[in-house]
Symmetry: C2
Subunit: 81 residues, 2 copies
């Protein structure tokens, strides 16, 4: 059955302290040359399967709740699980 | 230039209170029939580009820092940005 995935990331111009902290930790652990940005991933099971209407609904839910669109951007895609 | 993405999700058998809370909020907002699980997404820029060795390095970094492999599982894939 398919599910919808919403990926939420901080906008490029926004400071990403979590990502910076992880990059620093990785470097201290010997993992050099990796620059990390951290975001959120939402996996959404949709009752009755993924239809166009449902996809519009998920995009609206992402705009209203899953992402803070002032500082974050999001993408929506369908995945087979 | 390509980047590496690490997606981290709670293991299916693990309780996901954040996902449950979001599912409840969405339902109260009128978005019924959506069952949400929340995880983390890491976008990793790799100095010198993505090679097999770098991919192995990122997998190791995911195991050691990005995911708590007791309660989370992760996948690694390459994305063009």
């Amino acid at each position: 059955m398919a599910r919808v995935v919403v990926d939420v990331m901080p906008k490029p111009e926004i400071l990403d302290p979590q990502g910076k902290a992880i990059t620093g930790s990785l470097s201290r652990m010997g993992f050099d040359g990796l620059n990390v940005r951290q975001g959120k991933r939402f996996e959404i099971e949709v009752d009755g399967g993924v239809t166009e209407e449902r996809l519009v609904q998920v995009k609206e839910a992402a705009e209203k709740l899953l992402a803070n669109t002032v500082i974050e951007s999001f993408t929506v895609h369908i995945e087979d699980n």
